[in-house]
C-alpha cells in the first residue's frame, strides 16, 4: 500500500468515527431497528395466551403442564372481566367449562392466534371424545413438520434483512455525501493537483466502506446472538463475502448519486429515495413472498434484494456456501453497470 493510499484510508476512518451523524446512520439506526422489531415480535411468537375460568375435566387438561408448549395458560376468576381482556386483545381467548361443553370466547379480529387457539382446543376436545368412546389407538394420525429449520422465527428473518439494509444505508449515504462535500469544498480539485492517482482515492474509499460493512455485520451477529438468541444454520460465514459484494454494489450507487447531486441536501434526498424503497421492496423489513407479482418484479432490479436473499439462504435457511455465489455475481454485476454509468456523468468540480 502506498503512503498516500494509507493516508487516505486513515483519513476515511477518522472522518467516519468523528462524524456522529454517519455513525448513527450506519450503526445506531439499523441496530435500533433490529432491537425494535425483535422486541415487537418476540411476544407474538408461538404460544398464544389464554385465560381459564372455573373448573372441569377439560379445563384441567388445558391447564396441565403437558400443554405448556402449546398455550400460555393463566387462571382467572371473573368471567366477565376475563372476556373484557379478550376484547382488549390482551389475551387470545377465555376458556370455561359448563357441564360437557367447553366454551371458548375469542376475538375474531385476531384471526391468526384465534385460529391457533381454536385448533389446539379442538384437539383437546377430540382426544377427550376418543377417550370417552374407549378408543386407545386412533385409526388415523397426522404428522406435520415445517420445511424450514424448525426454529426459524422473526429474528432469523430480521437479522439478515436489516443487516442488508444497514449496509446499503452506510455505503450509499456515507460515500455520496462525502463525495459531494469534497466537490463543493474544492477538495476534489485540490486532490487533482497532488500526485495521487485517482485509483488510490477510489480504492481508499472502498477499503474504508468494506471495513465498515464488516463491522456492521459483526455487530448484527453479536446483537442477534446475545439479545435475541439468533439461530444460525448453513454456511453462515459466507455472509462476509456477500456483504463485501453488496457493499461494492452500494458504493457504485453512491457514486452515481454523487454524480447527479449538486448539493449535500440533494445527495441525501436522492440517497433516501434510493435506500428506503430498496429496504421495503428488497426484503429487509418484511418478506415479499406474498407481495403482488409486479412488486416482486421491481424488487428484482434492486441489489438489496439479492443481498438479503443470499444472506437469508446462508445464515438461516441452511444452504451451503455455493448458494451465495449467484447473489454475489449479481451484486458485482450491478456494481459494474451502475459504476460504469456514473463514471460517464461524474464531475470533479
Amino acid at each position: 500500500m502506498t503512503r498516500s493510499l494509507s493516508a487516505l484510508v486513515r483519513e476515511g476512518f477518522k472522518a467516519l468515527l468523528r462524524d456522529k451523524m454517519a455513525l448513527f446512520f450506519t450503526f445506531g439506526l439499523p441496530l435500533g431497528f433490529l432491537i425494535l422489531f425483535g422486541l415487537m415480535f418476540s411476544n407474538n411468537s408461538s404460544t398464544p395466551k389464554v385465560l381459564v375460568v372455573g373448573q372441569g375435566s377439560l379445563v384441567q387438561v388445558i391447564d396441565s403442564p403437558a400443554m405448556k408448549d402449546a398455550l400460555d395458560v393463566e387462571r382467572a376468576t371473573d368471567l366477565a372481566k376475563a372476556r373484557k381482556r379478550v376484547e382488549n386483545a390482551e389475551v387470545a381467548a377465555v376458556i370455561s367449562q359448563e357441564g360437557q361443553t367447553l366454551r371458548v370466547d375469542y376475538a375474531a379480529s385476531e384471526t391468526q392466534t384465534s385460529g391457533q387457539v381454536l385448533g389446539i382446543i379442538n384437539g383437546v376436545v377430540s382426544q377427550a371424545n376418543l377417550k370417552a368412546a374407549g378408543v386407545t389407538t386412533p385409526a388415523f394420525r397426522m404428522d406435520a413438520k415445517t420445511v424450514e429449520d424448525t426454529s426459524l422465527g422473526y429474528i432469523e428473518f430480521f437479522v439478515p434483512g436489516l443487516l442488508g439494509y444497514g449496509i446499503s444505508v452506510g455505503a450509499v449515504f456515507g460515500l455520496a455525501i462525502a463525495l459531494v462535500q469534497w466537490r463543493r469544498s474544492g477538495l476534489l480539485r485540490r486532490l487533482q493537483l497532488t500526485p495521487v492517482a485517482t485509483r488510490d482515492i477510489a480504492v481508499a474509499r472502498v477499503i474504508v466502506h468494506v471495513a465498515l460493512a464488516i463491522a456492521q455485520t459483526i455487530a448484527f451477529f453479536a446483537l442477534g446472538k446475545l439479545a435475541f438468541d439468533l439461530k444460525l444454520s448453513g454456511a453462515w460465514w459466507m455472509a462476509l463475502p456477500l456483504v463485501v459484494c453488496g457493499t461494492i454494489a452500494f458504493l457504485a450507487i453512491a457514486f452515481a448519486v454523487a454524480s447527479f447531486a449538486k448539493t449535500q441536501e440533494a445527495a441525501s434526498g436522492i440517497a433516501n429515495a434510493v435506500t428506503l424503497p430498496m429496504g421495503f421492496l428488497g426484503g429487509a423489513f418484511f418478506p415479499l413472498d406474498l407481495a403482488p407479482g409486479w412488486m416482486q418484479g421491481i424488487s428484482k432490479v434492486m441489489p438489496l434484494t439479492y443481498l438479503t436473499d443470499g444472506l437469508k439462504d446462508v445464515m438461516v435457511r441452511g444452504q451451503g456456501p455455493t448458494a451465495a455465489l449467484i447473489p454475489m455475481a449479481i451484486l458485482l454485476g450491478f456494481a459494474v453497470v451502475i459504476g460504469g454509468v456514473a463514471v460517464r456523468f461524474f464531475r470533479w468540480e
Binding site: 503512503r3 498516500s4 494509507s6 493516508a7 487516505l8 483519513e11 477518522k14 472522518a15 468523528r18 462524524d19 462535500q181 469544498s185 474544492g186 477538495l187 480539485r189 485540490r190 486532490l191 487533482q192 493537483l193 497532488t194 500526485p195 495521487v196 492517482a197
Partner: protein, 300 residues
Amino acid sequence: MSVAIRTTDLRKQYAHVLALDGVDLEVETGEIFGILGPNGAGKTTALEIIEGLRRPDGGEAEVLGQRPWPRDPALLRRMGVQLQASSFFEQLTAGEQIAMFADLFDAPAEAAADMLDRVGLADAADVRTKKLSGGQAQRLSIGCALVHRPELVFLDEPTSALDPQARRNLWDLMREIRAAGSTIVLTTHSMEEAEALCDRVAIMDAGRVIAVGTPLALVRDLDAPVRITIPPDTMTREQAAALPGVDEAEETESGITLRSADAAAVLGALARDGRLHGLQVRGATLEDVFLNLTGREYRA
C-alpha cells in the same frame, strides 16, 4: 535566467464567454510574479491551464519544462497550489491536514510540523479545520501548498483574509521561499501586496495581458502627476495655484490638493516659505496604473 512558466497564445472559450484571448506569459525561475486584473479578466482560467486542471482550446503552456496537460504526477510533485481556504478534509485537525498533504506529496513527516509552525498555527494543531477562523484557514491552506517544498508555488489571493501582522509574516515566508530558489505565482486584488512583494506583475483584462513589468517601472511609465496636499488655512487656493510647478489646485476637506508633474519645484517653493509642516505627498501607485489600464466600471 531560466524560465519556470511560458505560455504562448493561450485561448479558451466557455459557452458564452471568451475567457482567454491569446495570453502570452513568461515567469522566470526564482521570482515572485503577480497576476492582477479585475474579476472575470481570465486570471483563474489562465492559472487553471498552467496548473494542468484545464486544457486550452489553443496555444501552449510549458511549466518547469513540461506540458501540464494531461495530468502528470511527476510534474505535480514539483508544484504547490493553494486553492480556496475551504478545500480541506473536513473532519481532520489542522495538524492532521498538513500531515495529510505531506503524505500525499511524499514529503518528510517532520516537514508538516515545521510548516504548521511557520504559518503560525502550532497552537491550533489540534483544532478541527472547520473550527478555524478565516485567517487561520487561509494560513493553513498556504501551509498545505508549501509543505513539500515545491519548486513552483501558485497562491490565490493568499492574504485577503489576514490581519496586517499575519499578512507581513506571510510576505516574509514568501520571500524566504524565493530566497531558497522557488518561483511564486500569485493572484491578488491588493495593489499594496503586489507592490511590496512582487518582482514583476502582469495586468490582465478581458482575456489578455495588457501590461507586464516591475511595479516600479509600471508606475514610472504611467507618468502620473504627484499630488501634494497642504493643510487648511495655510494659503488660499489662488496663492497655491500660483506656486511654481503647480498644474492644478483644488480645495478639498483636508486642505488644498495640488497636482504637479514637477514636484521638486513645488516642494522647493513651499520649503523656502517654511510651509512643509503637515504636508502630504502622494505619488502615483500601482493602483493608479491598474485603474488607468482597466477603467473604473464594475466588473463581473
